[in-house]
Symmetry: D2
C-alpha cells in the first residue's frame, strides 16, 4: 500500500527526489471553477525556499511552479491538477562520498534496510526538499478554504532553546526566522551564529494558530481532526512530536482546570485547542510541532558503511543551521490540506 | 468519507455506541490460518475494563467478546472477523438530564454542531467505551505480529503530575495503575484519592516501548510509521499530544546531541525513538501520549443548552478519576494495529 | 488489502458466512438525521429471501434485520450503522461430505488455493447468502437517494433461454420470477420445472432501469459511473457479464446509429444507457447482468479432492433451480449503493 | 472523492488533458529494485499511438515517455514513479467551434452538467488520449508480473460486425488491426474503408486472453478479480460491456453445461474464464469488451448549445474510423494493472 498520497476527498500525491529531474504533486478532488494560475504559487514558494538567509544552505532554487494539468482558461476543471517544479540546482557531486556511508540522524540506514538500496544524493525521496511539493499543494487547499475565511498562521515558537515570550503575529510573518518575539530575536540570531560556527545545528518548535475554522470539521472516530493534523505534521521527517491545545501540559491539569466553560458567546478558555471529540468547535485551533535539529552537521560522526563496517563521517558543504523557519510554511500547508479535505468531507456527509 | 476505519491492509472498522445494544469491530485483511478463539480476548479485555479499582466508574461490564464471523474450526479464514461485545450494564437514565446541556470538555457541543443532534447517553459514539472494540481488534493484530517477536508494553509514566523516575516494567504490568515506579506509587494513589474527594479528575502521560520491531516498517512519505502512530493515539479522544523518541525535548538539542551514532552493533543512543525518515530502524520504538483529565467531574460547571442559553451543570454519578491506566491497554492496542498493518504493507511491497 | 468494503463515501463492509452465526454489514458514511427503523428492511428482505417458490431451496430464514448501531431515537446519527441477520436455519450437516471435494462451478477450489483451507459449509463467505447483507445496506442507500426521486427497478429479462419480449414493469414487480412478460411467463415456469426434474439449473439475464437519476454523477476517469456499476454487479459471484445501454450490441453499430442526438427536451434515443464519459446524463440508466446457472446440481460431476485425486460428486439436497429472480433485488441494491455513494461524492466535489 | 486513481497497492494516478501541456501517471507502490528505463516504454507506446494506418486520425505524437521520478541508477527505488508524455501536436484550433456545442456521443454535455464548464479542446480529460498514460503504467505493471510468467494478449475479435472465426494470436499481434483471422481481414478493411467514405465510424469487440496467471488472485467479496477487471475495462470511455469466460452466453446454459469439471490435470473446459468466486483458478482468463463506434463523425448531427438551444453540428477534420485496434494495447494495460495490484495484495495477505 503506497504512502505518497494524503487526504481522502482533497487528495494529493507527491513525487520526485531531491536530486532527480524535479518534484511534483497531483492534487485530485479539487472542486471545479476555482481561479488558479502560476502566479498564485509565488509567494508561498518564496517563503519556503532556501537561500533566504545566511543560516540556510546555499542551494539556489527559484522553485517556479509549472501547471501540467487541471487548469483550463485559468480555472480548475475538476480534473487532477499537477504542479511541477523542475530542479535547476541539483548538484549531486557532493553526495558521492555518501554512496557507502549512512548519515546519522538521516533516513539512509532505514531506507537501505527497507528497499535494499537508496538514493544517496541528498536523501532522494526522504529529503526535506519533498515538502516544496506540499507547499504548492497547500496553495490550492487555501483556495478551497478561502470562502470560509479561515486564516492559518504558523511561526517559530522556539529555536535553539530560545522560546518566544510574546506572540506578535505581524512581526512573525515578516522576520526571516518567523520568530514572533521582537525582544528575543537577536538571541535567536546569536544561537544560530554560534551553532553555525561549531558546525552544529539547532531544533525548535513551530506553533500554528487557525482562526475562523467553522465548527463541525473532523470525522469520528479515527479520522478525528486532531488525529489527521497530527499525522500531517508527523509526516514531516523532522517532526518528533505534536500537540493540540494545551498538549502535554494537560498531564498536570485537573478536569476543573482543563474543561473549557461554554457560554453563549463561545468558550471562555481554549485548553482544547479548538477541537473536542475530534471535531472543530469554532474556537481557534492551536497546534505545536517539535522540530529536531538538522542531522547534517560538519562535526565528525560515528557510523557504518553498507557492509556494516564502522566508519567515521565528516560531512563537508554548507547546511542549514536549523529547519525551524523552513518548516513554518510547510506546517501551514499541511494544516491547509487537512482542513480542505475535512471541509469537503463534511460537505459530502451533510 | 466515513472515519470509522483504520489501517490499509490490516483494516478495522469499529461500530457501536456507549449506550446502544453493543460495540463491535470488523477486522478485515487478517491473513488466514491463524489460531483464534474467544478465550484469546479475555486478558486484554480484563486489563481495560472498568471496575478494576475504586478510582474507576462502577459500570460493571465483563466485556465478553463474541466472534460473529471469520473463524472456522478455530482458525482465521481470510474472511472479515467480526468481534462483538453485547452491552449488559448500559443504564442510560443518569444521562437524561443531559438531553439539553452540553458537557464541558466532552464532544457534545461539537457533535451537535456537526450532526444537528447527538446521542446524549454517555456520549454515544464519542464515549471512551468505543476503545473496547479497539482493544479486541488489537488482540488479532498481536496474533499477526507474533511471528516477529515484537513486544509492546505501555505504562502510566505520569498521573496527576507525579512522574515515574524509574521504569520497572514488571511492576508496571502488575499494579492497578500500570505505574512503573514502586517508590512513587503511593503518591499517585494519594493524588487520585484527593481529586476524587474534590469531585475532580487527573491527567497524565502514557509511555509505550516496542521491542523487537524489525527495521523497514513505515511507508514514505505520508504514511511514515511515526505519522501513523501519532494518528493512532491522537484518534483517542483523551489524547492531546504525542511524541516519538525525545519528542519535544529535541527542540533544545543540537544535531551533535540528537543524532544517534551508528555502530555495527546498532545505535549507541535512541533519541530517534526507533524511527528515522518514517521507517523503523530496529531500535526500540518509544512513544508518549498526553492524556487529558476526564471531563466528567462533579464540580459545578458553566455551559449552555441546545438553544444556546447559559446554564449550570452539576453532574452526579460516579466517574473515573483518571483515564490514564485505562488508556494503557488501548495505546498498546493502537500500536499493535499500526504495526500489523505496516508489517503486511511492507510484505506486499517487497 | 482487504476486499469486503464497497463505496468511498457511502461505504459498506459486509461480514459473515453462510453457516456461521450470522451475516451483517456496517454502513459507514450515511448522513445524519435520516429516519430508519427495523421495519424499513422487511419488504426488501422478503423480496430476496429463499422459500418464496418451489424452485428455490427450502432454507427458511425470516432474514430479520437487527440494528446494532448508528440509530438513536429512530434517526441516523452519522455513526456507522450495523445491520445484522442472525442465522436460524443454517444446517451444516449436509455439507460434511464436501469437506474433501471441490464442487465444480463453486469457489471451493479457488479459495483452497488462496487460503490453504476453506469453509466447506455451503461456501462460507462465497455463498450467495452474503448478498442478504447487501440488500439490507441497499435499503439505507435508498433512503439517501429518496430526496432525488430516483427509481430503480430490476427484473428477469431472460431465464433459461426464454427472453421477455415485452417489459411490463408492474407485472415484473409482482410475479414470483420478476419476469416482465406475462405472455411468456408460463414458458419460464416450464423450463424451470424441466430443469428441476433433471436435477439441473438455469441461467439468465437481469436487466435494471433507473429513472430520475440526476445528471452529473460519476467521477472521471477511473471511477466512472458505469465502471462502478459494472464492478458492483460483477462482484456478485453468479454474474459473468455486464452491459450498459446497448452493451455488446454497439459492436455492430455505426457512430451515426449509436450517437444519441441531443435536443432541448433531452436525448432522442438512449443507446448510451444514460451514461456518457462515465457521467450520468439524466437519461434512464440501463444495465444488464448475465447470471450463470447455479452450480449446485444433483447430476453427478467429475471433480478432485483436497489431495488432488480424481473423484465423482453427486450432490444431494434441494437447490435453487435458478438464481435469476433472487438476483433481482440484489442488483437493485447494488445500484442503490453505487448511486448513493456517487451522489455524496458529487456533493463533496461541487 | 477523486476518481483519477486505480489500484490499491500497485496504485496509479493519471493526469493531463488531450490538449494541455502533456499527459502523465504516477505509479505508486511499485516494489524496489526492478530494472526500468525509458526504452522499456517504446514498444507499448508505439502499439497504441495514432498514425499507424490510414483509418486513424493523423495526429502525430511520438508519445515519448519521460521518467520524472522513482528511478535511480536504472532501478525502481520504491518511490513513486512518474511517467510523462509531453504533447507536441495538440492543435486546439479545430475545436474552437465546439466551444458552444455539445458533441453527441461524447462526454461534453455530461461534463458541463457536472462541472459547470468543460474543456472543449478535444474532450480534455475525457479524451481517449488519456489512455496513453494507462499504457505507460501498464509497462511497469508488466515488470511486476514478469517473474510470474503471465502472458496477456488482446486482439480485435470483431470490427464493424465482422467477427473473427479463427484466433491466430501470432497474426493478431502483427496485423495493423490486431485482428486474429487472416481469412476475414480484408473484409474488415473493406468495412473500414466504406465507413470512412461515409464519414461514419465502426464499433467492435476486444477479446483478451491471460495465460499463466497463478491461482489465488482476487479478494472476496467486493474486490473479486472479475469485478476489478470489469471496472478496469469499463473505465475506458468507449467500452459499454464486459464479459468474463462465457459471459452473456451463460444465460442460455444449464448448470451441467456451464460447470467446468475438475481433474488432477486442471479444468476440462473453461466456461468460467479462469475465475471462480472472484478468484483466479489458474485456467486462462478470458475477457471481452464491447467497444462503441467513435462518436466523432463527419455526418451532420442534431445537438444543443450551452444555452440549451437546438443546433446542427457538422464536424470537420479527420477522425479515427474505429477505436477497436487502439483499444487492444489499452485493454492489455488495464489487465496488467489489475493483475499486478492483485498479485501484491495477495502477497500481503498470505
Amino acid at each position: 500500500m503506497p504512502g505518497n498520497s494524503f487526504g481522502q476527498i482533497f487528495k494529493i500525491t507527491t513525487f520526485g527526489e531531491s536530486h532527480g529531474p524535479g518534484l511534483g504533486v497531483v492534487v485530485d478532488g479539487c472542486p471545479s471553477r476555482i481561479k488558479l494560475c502560476t502566479a498564485d504559487f509565488e509567494s508561498a514558494m518564496t517563503r519556503r525556499r532556501p537561500g533566504r538567509q545566511i543560516y540556510d544552505s546555499p542551494r539556489q532554487e527559484p522553485d517556479r511552479v509549472e501547471i501540467l494539468s487541471g487548469i483550463f482558461e485559468d480555472q480548475t476543471t475538476g480534473a487532477p491538477i499537477t504542479l511541477y517544479i523542475h530542479h535547476q540546482d541539483a548538484d549531486s557531486k557532493p553526495y558521492d562520498i555518501l554512496r557507502q556511508l549512512f548519515r546519522p540522524g538521516h533516513a539512509d540506514y532505514a531506507y537501505f534496510k527497507k528497499y535494499g538500496h537508496f538514493d544517496f544524493r541528498g536523501g532522494g525521496r526522504s529529503s526535506a526538499r519533498e515538502t516544496a511539493a506540499r507547499v504548492a499543494a497547500g496553495v490550492v487547499a487555501q483556495k478551497v478554504l478561502s470562502p470560509l475565511g479561515v486564516e492559518i498562521q504558523a511561526y517559530s515558537l522556539e529555536i535553539g532553546g530560545i522560546r518566544a515570550e510574546k506572540t506578535d503575529l505581524v512581526y512573525a510573518r515578516q522576520n526571516p526566522f518567523y520568530f514572533p518575539d521582537p525582544a528575543l530575536n537577536s538571541k535567536v540570531e546569536q544561537a544560530l551564529q554560534q551553532a553555525k560556527e561549531e558546525g552544529d545545528s539547532l531544533g525548535g518548535i513551530v506553533e500554528a494558530r487557525v482562526r475562523g475554522c467553522p465548527a463541525g470539521l473532523g470525522e469520528p472516530v479515527f479520522d478525528k481532526l486532531d488525529a489527521d493534523l497530527a499525522k500531517a505534521v508527523m509526516s514531516l521527517g523532522a517532526v518528533k512530536g505534536c500537540e493540540i491545545g494545551d498538549g502535554f501540559a494537560v498531564a498536570g491539569l485537573k478536569g476543573s482546570q482543563n474543561n473549557d466553560a461554554i457560554t453563549p458567546a463561545g468558550f471562555t478558555t481554549n485548553h482544547s485547542g479548538g477541537i473536542l471529540g475530534g471535531i472543530s468547535t469554532g474556537a481557534d485551533i492551536i497546534l505545536r510541532a517539535a522540530v529536531k535539529p538538522i542531522p547534517s552537521i560538519t562535526i565528525e560522526q560515528q557510523t557504518i558503511d553498507r557492509h556494516l563496517q564502522p566508519a567515521r563521517l565528516k560531512m563537508t558543504g554548507r547546511f542549514d543551521t536549523t529547519a525551524v523557519p523552513r518548516m513554518v510554511p510547510v506546517v501551514e500547508a499541511m494544516i491547509s490540506l487537512v482542513l480542505a479535505d475535512h471541509y469537503l468531507r463534511h460537505r459530502a456527509g451533510k
